[in-house]
């Protein structure tokens, strides 16, 4: 077995460091990093953004979305029925009035 040579190890190390390839950064990498840092700082600093995200996350849950959709359909239908009934009632009243009271007397 050959005795270890510290000089050759150091030379080998230097050679390996030289040989290690340093990949080139994508274009505008630094700018992108700074932009992300700024965005994350803004998000952390603004409670409104966090609140909005929380609300959105809550609103898009399927169970909640379905419940709201059903509620909206029910509310819309009930309102439509109520308004339609009023219009129907009004129409029936006008027909009765036209049959018993000539326009010239009203």
């Amino acid at each position: 077995m050959k005795p270890e040579n510290p000089n050759s190890d150091a030379a080998l190390g230097a050679l390996l460091r030289k040989a290690r390839s340093t990949p080139s950064l994508p274009p505008r990498f630094q700018e992108g990093v700074w932009r992300r840092i700024e965005e994350s700082e803004i998000t952390a600093a603004s409670p409104a953004v966090g609140w909005l995200e929380a609300l959105t996350a809550w609103a898009v849950r399927p169970r909640f979305a379905l419940a709201v959709a059903v509620m909206l359909i029910c509310a819309g239908s009930l309102t439509g029925i109520r308004v339609g009934n009023q219009a129907r009632q009004q129409d029936a009243q006008s027909r009765y009035l036209a049959s018993v009271a000539p326009n010239s007397l009203r």
Binding site: I42, L72, G80, I81
Partner: protein, 166 residues
């Protein structure tokens, strides 16, 4: 920041569309159901919750009143035509035209009285509470319209002349 906001806006729009479409469909269906009816007395049954026996009596009274009402309407229409011909081309109000106006007013008041008599008769044929409500409602709808017009005229009168003042 933009994405959650966009999602919320889309969700709100979708919700509004859902509400509006269900509202419009149910309203249209409801109105279409009523439009099929041709009975002029349907309103009495709806509004005053009359029984079938009461409605039969209402139909009798209505059928008896209609020829009288039609005859009065014919007289009024004839008198209006006379008045129109008396007024056409005239630059001042002649004695003949004044007479026609008076006759027309008389006919109208007779027609109104006949109409009120019919309303009273109909109200008596209803259960008392409903009859009272019917009578006041019909008075409001027929005579009340004139009062509203007169009040509007008083409110917009800039000459100091006030109708019905104390």
């Amino acid at each position: 920041m933009k994405r959650p906001l966009l999602i919320l806006i889309i969700a709100l729009l979708a919700g509004s569309a859902l509400f509006a479409s269900s509202y419009l469909v149910s309203r249209r269906v409801c109105e279409a159901c009523g439009a099929q009816s041709t009975d002029n007395l349907e309103w009495l049954q709806q509004e005053f919750h009359l029984a079938d026996a009461d409605m039969a009596r209402m139909h009798q009274l209505h059928d008896a009143y209609m020829p009288k009402c039609a005859a009065m309407c014919e007289q009024i229409a004839a008198k209006k035509m006379e008045l129109d011909s008396a007024l056409s081309g005239a630059t001042n109000l002649t004695a003949g035209a004044k007479e026609k106006l008076t006759d027309l007013a008389m006919l109208r008041s007779q027609c109104q009285a006949q109409m009120l008599e019919h309303f009273i008769e109909v109200s008596r044929a209803m259960p008392p509470a409903q009859g009272q409500r019917y009578l006041s409602e019909m008075e409001r709808l027929t005579l009340g319209a004139h009062e509203a017009t007169e009040q509007t005229m008083s409110a917009h009168d800039h000459t100091g002349h006030v109708h019905g003042g104390n």
